[in-house]
């Protein structure tokens, strides 16, 4: 009462931002739009989501010290040596494991049961490696993603040592490698869809039509996660160039790194399953 300013400051350090709620509302509206096949509602959800994300980023960029939230949370945490934010990230990744497993499991089941479906619409063998997909190109893309993992972990190591130059360099390298991965995948998609004739409903050379649907479902969901990772990387890279991270205050780099490595792990399993398994 006698010291209103410190009290307000304390409240601010506990991250009382309305923007995450707005983002959640946008996602909810967008999801209802998808379920009800309502394009206007989906667009409304996207607009609310983008506005909320923009507002949150803008608010965060005003105060480089906001990454201290993790430090405050760890002090309050009941768990030893793990901040609340890192615990939250691991819980998110656990849900992602189940999500990707469902997508891959559904595709695998369709592949195994395709000869049992009994309808001529879905007959035909699965494609052999290199028959439709470009394995060498995607092998290169896999190597690029692995390289981005090592640059990401080196960025975190640089942050631990307070080596600002290496932190910025490796974050930028990770961001560039992530953009290259997405670009190669976009090139692959347009080539497969428009030149090879692999669409959501049909496949060339008598290959089972479900092959295209499962291919785009699995790689598309992963690709959308890579795009989200690239956006997160752009965010922390920009903050790094603004000097926001220090030896004691760089948890955001670690959390984005956890997400990025997880995306790499998913691809490590997806690449052989989608591209290398025999027909």
């Amino acid at each position: 009462m006698a010291h209103p300013e410190p009290a307000g400051h304390q409240e601010e350090e506990h991250h009382g931002s309305p923007w995450p709620v707005i983002i959640a509302v946008g996602m909810g509206v967008g999801y209802v739009g998808i379920v009800t096949a309502s394009i206007p509602m989906l667009l409304a959800g996207v607009v609310i989501f983008v506005g909320g994300a923009g507002g949150w980023i803008h608010q965060d960029m005003q105060r480089p010290s906001s990454a201290f939230y993790g430090l405050a949370a760890s002090v309050e945490s009941r768990f030893p040596r793990v901040s609340a934010r890192k615990l939250g990230m691991w819980l998110l990744l656990a849900t992602e494991i189940m999500f990707f497993s469902a997508i891959i499991g559904a595709s695998w089941t369709l592949r195994l049961r395709t000869t049992l479906l009994g309808t001529p619409l879905f007959q035909g063998p699965w494609a052999a490696p290199n028959q439709i997909l470009n394995v060498p190109l995607t092998g290169l893309n896999t190597f690029i993603l692995i390289c981005s993992s090592v640059t990401m972990v080196e960025a975190f190591a640089a942050a631990e040592k307070d080596d600002q130059r290496r932190l910025r360099l490796f974050l930028l390298a990770t961001l560039v490698l992530g953009i290259i991965f997405v670009s190669i995948q976009a090139y692959e998609y347009q080539k497969l869809y428009f030149q090879e004739g692999l669409t959501f409903k049909s496949a060339p050379d008598g290959v089972n039509p479900l092959y295209g649907a499962t291919f785009y479902a699995q790689t598309g969901v992963h690709g959308s996660h890579v795009i989200a990772g690239v956006l997160a990387l752009a965010y922390v890279t920009r903050k790094a160039f603004k000097g926001a991270f220090t030896k004691e205050n760089h948890e955001a780099v670690e959390l984005v790194g956890l997400y990025w490595h997880f995306v790499d792990v998913v691809w490590i399993f997806l690449f052989p399953i989608v591209y290398l398994l025999p027909a």
């Binding site: 993790g70 430090l71 760890s74 002090v75 768990f79 030893p80 040596r81 793990v82 901040s83 890192k86 615990l87 691991w90 819980l91 990744l93 656990a94 849900t95 992602e96 494991i97 189940m98 497993s101 469902a102 499991g105 089941t109 195994l112 049961r113 049992l116 490696p129 394995v135 060498p136 092998g139 190597f143 692995i146 390289c147 993992s149 090592v150 990401m152 972990v153 080196e154 190591a157 631990e160 040592k161 030896k247 004691e248 760089h250 948890e251 670690e254 790194g257 956890l258 490595h261 997880f262 790499d264 792990v265 490590i268 399993f269 690449f271 052989p272 399953i273 290398l276 398994l277 025999p278």
Partner: protein
């Protein structure tokens, strides 16, 4: 976050021993093996077994060293393992229905 609990000194010493580049080389080599396996005249089950084994090795390296699970408190591993446990149930269910449509 190592610093938030242990202080910056020990964390840096610990980090200096982390074999990031060795893991990177291992990942690259195993990826090269994967890219050559599918062209060998092996039985399908052998190719599938080899590819899943190499993927598990690579995934384990990334999770253990790059995601620092080796250096975190042991209980953190229970979180992804919980997700993997449910995956095992899913795989068992799918395999079962695939074998007996």
């Amino acid at each position: 976050m190592a610093e938030t609990s242990m202080g910056p000194g020990p964390a840096i010493e610990e980090h200096a021993k982390r074999p990031y580049l060795i893991v990177f080389v291992a990942l690259a080599v195993v990826t090269g093996i994967e890219l050559s396996v599918y062209s060998f005249p092996l039985a399908h089950i052998e190719i599938i077994s080899i590819l899943m084994a190499t993927a598990t090795i690579k995934g384990g390296l990334v999770v253990g060293y790059y995601m620092h699970l080796r250096y975190e408190p042991r209980w953190i591993a229970l979180i992804p393992l919980g997700g993997l446990g449910l995956v095992a149930v899913l795989v068992a269910a799918l395999t079962s229905t695939s074998a007996h449509p």
